[in-house]
Assembly symmetry: C2
Homo-oligomer: 328 residues x 2
């Protein structure tokens, strides 16, 4: 009940929201023949809201990270509005995509059914990432070790149990070594929208860049939040990426998890600094927002759900206004 | 592009939508210890919108059927608004739940990982329902056989490929013989909302009744669309269900699929007529809406997406007004 009550309080304070249009659709998807007929795989589910003044701004596509769904961007675990509604209230059209092979996008079940039927050995079954609370604590940087919270932690730790409910099995291994289908659908969505800003986080943090390398035509800006960056692109690839304004964002305590934890955020940060420098050298407009360097302390890996999530959203929107929309 | 264009036309015709509040949350969920720690399972993801006048009406909880997600209730395959937005535009608060083990609710992956690790034999892996286009055609009653459409078919067949994208793997077998966790969370959601109408469809069609037998306290009305009904309840169970106004709805061509197809809708209809009679004999307010008997022809199993979906929504809303809200 506490969460619902918090929702009511939060939303009542904000006042009514008028939207021009909302709905959902799929991008991509192809037929796969299985024993008994055909199924559709690789489609990407997208849910959207267009505010009344949405036409004045470039739409924003938000894609969640590992073991999560588009829930990432909705109501926070402690019941505040998430970036999805916040951006809509700031007159931005928002498109939430469930990664291909996750949540409402579905996945290719035949790979599991073939094991069940004895046609494929069990150890060839694509892995499923089943992130435990203990792993999440470290990867999402709630504190230096499980059960211990950073003194300035911005994640609403009183609602950690609500966050764990957002963590769902990750079937990206069904897509092969690269989640290319999601990159393709993100690029296609940009084209469909006649121009969009792509935002990724963690597992999907670098998906905007990968989408741009498939087809940059519909991509007006890339926002990459907390992930390892690729640093060995060719000059031609860098030239493509440098044409797209790029924002990279990292929170706090990147090197403060004991033993580094399962994710090495300090190293990821280093690779992204290199990538940003490479984009700049290629003539690109690339910005690294390292929050603690800007005086904003204690942000977790789930910074869009942190207590200061509105403040961080404003930083992103300000970057869009300055770096993407002034170029129009 | 056709779908997006259709969306734009459809939504523009409807005009802006003002909502009082929206968001998402989880109901239920419990810790499960696995090798490496704890994961949360059995939580149910719920997405909601409360219109400005939502407080004047009883909220409606909509739960999708087999191999589908809450997408069922959103934008139709041919780009019209679905029941979710339609009900909101008719001043009803709407709560869309992804069934436990599906979509954004996640599922218990450990049962698959144990097979992958060789701890459990492959044939003990919980089944995954992977509905093919060919099966969907028959079960959802697009026509008498695959590739052939009923002359008066109401499903927007030009968008059948968009519908197939909504079909995702069904992992309900991970929940055991009964999807009890979903029933429990539906009952709990009714209590949380301080009273709600539960609506189920197909696989979930009888979930409202099952939820009521767990805890009827928060259930103000049950709407069951196209499913087999249980006809051997005890007098005590029927007495509980008879206290809740109940609407059962069936479309057309129930016996017209060649060989009956994988689902026997004519038999399901017969069991539900029996159930409705049993409720009435127990003093209940139970209504069977068999659409062709009412002169409404050609409706498929996905009647909330059929071309006359607005008309059918009005029938449901009218039933709510008369049978649930007049009792207040």
């Amino acid at each position: 009940m506490k969460t619902l009550t918090a929702l009511l309080v939060s939303a009542t304070m904000l006042g009514p929201l008028t939207i021009k249009e909302q709905g959902s659709f799929f991008v991509g998807g192809e037929n796969k023949s299985i024993n008994g007929g055909d199924v559709t795989v690789n489609q990407m589910y997208v849910q959207y809201q267009i505010p009344m003044k949405g036409g004045q701004h470039v739409p924003v596509v938000m894609v969640h990270g590992c073991c999560l769904s588009s829930k990432t961007w909705e109501t926070t675990p402690d019941g505040r509005i998430g970036w999805s509604e916040y951006f809509v209230r700031k007159d931005r059209s928002v498109y939430l995509a469930d990664q291909v092979s996750r949540a409402r996008s579905g996945f290719d079940a035949q790979q599991y059914l073939d094991v069940r039927a004895g046609k494929v050995p069990a150890d060839k079954m694509p892995n499923i990432i089943n992130a435990t609370h203990q792993v999440a604590w470290l990867v999402f940087r709630f504190g230096p070790k499980y059960g211990e919270v950073f003194p300035d932690e911005q994640f609403p730790m009183q609602a950690a149990d609500e966050f764990y409910k957002q963590v769902i099995p990750d079937l990206n291994a069904t897509l092969g070594p690269e989640p290319r289908a999601t990159w393709q659908q993100m690029a296609a969505l940009g084209v469909k929208l006649n121009g969009a800003i792509l935002m990724g986080h963690s597992e999907s943090g670098f998906f905007p860049e990968q989408a741009a390398l498939i087809n940059p035509a519909g991509i007006r800006g890339n926002i990459s939040i907390e992930m390892p960056c690729v640093t060995n692109f060719s000059q031609q690839q860098l030239a493509t990426l440098a044409k797209i304004p790029t924002l990279v964002m990292f929170g706090d305590h990147l090197g403060d998890v004991t033993g580094g934890g399962p994710a090495n955020w300090a190293q990821s940060f280093a690779t992204c600094n290199t990538f940003v420098d490479q984009l700049k050298k290629a003539g690109g407009d690339a910005v690294m927002m390292h929050l603690p360097t800007m005086g904003i302390k204690g942000n977790s890996h789930m910074l869009m759900q942190d207590r200061n999530s509105d403040q961080l959203a404003d930083l992103v929107i300000s970057w869009i206004d300055t770096h993407v929309e002034k170029r129009k």
